[in-house]
Symmetry: C2
Subunit: 509 residues, 2 copies
């Protein structure tokens, strides 16, 4: 495996460039050569997968995704198995390598976030190639035919182009390229592709616990999330947990004419505004009592890694059009190691030309609470509930009836998901150090090491069932509009992903 | 005209009953006799008008409404004219009475508030008869055939059943009934039926000014708004003005993943919550500087009337399911004589099962400001803008570009309508006293006299152009769900309206 070198060819338009290594310019890399010779069919395979709608609640289409991925794996000689529970199926796959002593397991998810097509430039499940990012004026262009080249700065726009279908395809192409180059695997491989990560992985725990023997591995590598904002390769050793809460506050039991009842009948949208405003200060610090309790502090290695991370806050502010940010001067990297309270959305009646001059009957907000190592999801929700009660609210989990309305001046209906806790793998584990060294050697530079990824992946489920360390190995661009409209994948990231997975599959573990 | 007596036959299910007069039980009233003999065709005419969709922006249907009303008027021998400008047409009508020295003008509007059919029990433009109010479990029942009786507590559900088509039909039936009873008119009549009142009467001023000679009258009676919550007949001598504002606040220039950027990228929904929360105290008192300035105080007559008004606040709280109200203990009737700031709606991304774990890119709220005598709409908007600036915001009227975003930490986009001011006619005018006395005599009890109606009607336009006093003569039930889903008309109110308009047309002015 030492015969080929994985080089980082990424560069960036907006952020400080990574200097390409000499190796990258020499192109002695058989994996890259394979990709360069097969770009159109590789992209075709990705496009075919992206064209299948993949919202977890869409039961028919989610199974089509699973079937497609099974077929893709079988085509590469992977032994597959569909793990069935009460949710979308988990696609499991296994490659046994004669003589291998290590088992490396790879995780990704094939479902995607819900879509609001009205906000997309292209239909979210009609993959579209653009010559630049949309916000830089990128134009839709036809997909090149077999034999034609792709510009690595082109982007494919589609739901899950980045989060999280392209890593699955990159793993398949890595196997093709290794085979074509006659490079043998160094380890046993296991694959687990989940179908409801964006819907909270509700049914994963039962499945993983039931199949925990099948899922035994020396390390689990999670191919979810983006690389660093500098476009440098990133390894993350933890993920935040998450739990969501939806709260509704009430006014009169029907919408009332604002002229006849304004100044008198309480306005629930205004009440909700006051309630939410009480939860954070102007720097974004959460004012809920106990919100920052129970956090397990970072270790020495993790603190060093945090300090060594590139600080791109100023560039990100320029990119995102922000004149100021929350956090009272602390960096994004630091702030990600703290729990957060985020307002996902707020709704009460209509605005603008659709608005009517009424006092709304109710107002609803959904929050997500991100959790770090040590915080129990249920306990964090209870802290928020205690805060709401402290503001004078009667808290219930169901729609208040007339008697309840007449009894309590302030009523909040609160419903929360189960959520899941954070995970953090110590960076000083031998297998972690091995992976870091391998990636550094392959890239020609030190990868960015993050103690905690900002996003949430239910690594705790696999950690709890398999007792194996969890490390994140993301491949997609940071500016992929993940979870929003116009999600996209920068092709260079996809090409890099293929080379990285090939390295992991063939390196000496 | 003294030969027949208008008696109040209203009663109420939820509120203190009005004792019917002896006359009501004797039924010596030829107008009532006419109605009782023709209930089915009368309702048919109303239903046919309600079936035509009437949102002012629906240009095709709004003209169908105007044409239908023109035809209804012509059928009664009213000379009609369509006043055309740049908005929906105004339907004008005139009846000249030989020897009459007074001209009484009647205003109503034929357009209605926008509808969200998903919130209606019945399609909003398919009038549906129900045997009780919906919230008391009312069932849909077939419309009786000719000759069959209608229970006066039945209700018709449809957009504009109350606001404001049924008064137009009641005026027409009043003319039919007077003719059938051989009672001659005592005055000249003018009718003005507007088609964009719910859309802000944007084009009315130009039309009314252009036709001000045509619109000359001794008094204008405005048949809009509901009767008192006790179901007692009401006269109002003023209306609040109104102006709406829509404000959008911004975060990053795109939605960002709440895991990767939470704690760092500001959340515009939270910012908007804080901004709105700064505008009112917990009692609903507006905290915007100068908001209560310029108000012309009530006169002696008006203060007496206010004190004499029935106080139904406790009953209304029970009806609307409110354990507490805004206003620090002051009554609804008092509070209506003050300006108000109401949150019509608030929107940022999605909530509940539709929500996604992102930091929204923007958040929008629409407010309506109700104005009382003395407050200039533009000046009131400027006060709110000054308040927003005081919270640190850069205020603009257009979508901020990247340079603007990078310059100002807090940006609010603000767009407001022109709005219009309040009107208040002094109660001690002779013609006002004459109307009060006539209604008192007809009803057998003192009508409720309100210095100011809570709702807004652009009476100022007609007042300014014609220099004639404006008095409100509403007929519909207070619990009509005006401006919301499931708007309805209680039949007894419609029957009463016919008798009231007949009295006005035949009384000695």
């Amino acid at each position: 495996m030492k015969s080929f070198v994985l080089a980082f060819a990424g560069f960036t338009l907006l952020l400080p460039a990574v200097v390409p290594t000499v190796q990258a310019q020499q192109n002695l890399n058989p994996i890259r050569a394979y990709r360069e010779a097969h770009e159109a069919p590789i992209i075709n395979e990705l496009v075919a997968l992206l064209a299948i709608p993949n919202v977890a609640s869409d039961k028919v289409n989610i199974r089509k995704n699973a079937a497609k991925i099974m077929a893709m794996m079988q085509q590469r000689g992977i032994t597959t198995k569909l793990l069935e529970g009460n949710g979308p199926p988990v696609v499991f796959g296994e490659v046994k390598t004669p003589g291998a002593t290590r088992t490396i397991a790879l995780y990704a998810h094939y479902d995607g976030q819900a879509v609001d097509p009205s906000k997309w430039a292209d239909a979210p499940f009609t993959p579209t190639l653009r010559d630049q990012p949309l916000d830089a004026g990128g134009k839709a262009i036809p997909f090149p035919k077999a034999g034609e080249k792709f510009n690595p700065e082109w982007r494919i726009y589609a739901r899950s182009a980045s989060d999280d279908k392209s890593p699955i395809v990159a793993m398949m192409i890595a196997l093709d390229a290794l085979k074509a180059a006659n490079i043998s695997l160094s380890c046993n491989l296991k694959f687990l592709f989940e179908g409801e990560e964006e819907a909270g992985s509700t049914h994963l725990e039962e499945l993983v616990t039931r199949h925990k023997e099948l899922l035994k591995a020396d390390v689990w590598l999670c191919a979810d999330g983006p690389v660093h904002q500098t476009r440098k390769q990133l390894l993350y050793f933890g993920v935040r947990g998450v739990v969501t809460m939806t709260m509704t506050v009430y006014g009169a039991n029907r919408g009332l004419h604002s002229g006849h009842y304004g100044n008198w009948s309480p306005n629930p949208a205004m009440r909700l505004a006051k309630l939410l405003a009480s939860m954070k200060d102007d720097n974004g610090r959460v004012l809920v009592a106990g919100f920052y309790d129970d956090v397990v502090p970072l270790g020495v290695e993790e603190k060093k890694a945090l300090q060594a991370m590139p600080h791109t806050d100023a560039e990100l502010m320029r990119e995102y059009g922000l004149a100021a940010v929350d956090g009272a001067g602390r960096t994004l990297a630091e702030l990600i190691n703290e729990p957060s309270l985020n307002l996902d959305g707020i709704r009460s009646e209509y605005v603008g030309s659709e608005s009517r001059t009424i006092i709304p009957a109710e107002a609803t907000a959904t929050l997500d609470l991100r959790l770090v190592k040590g915080i129990d999801p249920r306990k964090q929700v209870e802290r928020v509930i205690a805060h709401i009660k402290k503001q004078g609210y009667f808290v219930t989990t169901s729609e208040p009836d007339q008697a309840t309305r007449l009894k309590y001046p302030l009523i909040a209906r609160l419903n929360s998901g189960d959520g899941y806790p954070a995970v953090r793998t110590p960076m000083n584990l031998p297998i972690a150090q091995k992976l870091i060294a391998a990636v550094e050697k392959a890239m020609g530079y030190k990868p960015v090491l993050a103690p905690t990824l900002g996003g949430s992946v239910p690594l705790y489920i696999i950690e709890r069932a398999t007792n194996a360390p969890q490390i994140g190995l993301p491949t997609v661009n940071h500016d992929n509009n993940q979870h929003s409209a116009n999600e996209n994948l920068r092709l260079q990231n996809f090409w890099d992903g293929i080379e990285i997975f090939a390295e992991v599959m063939a390196m000496r573990w």
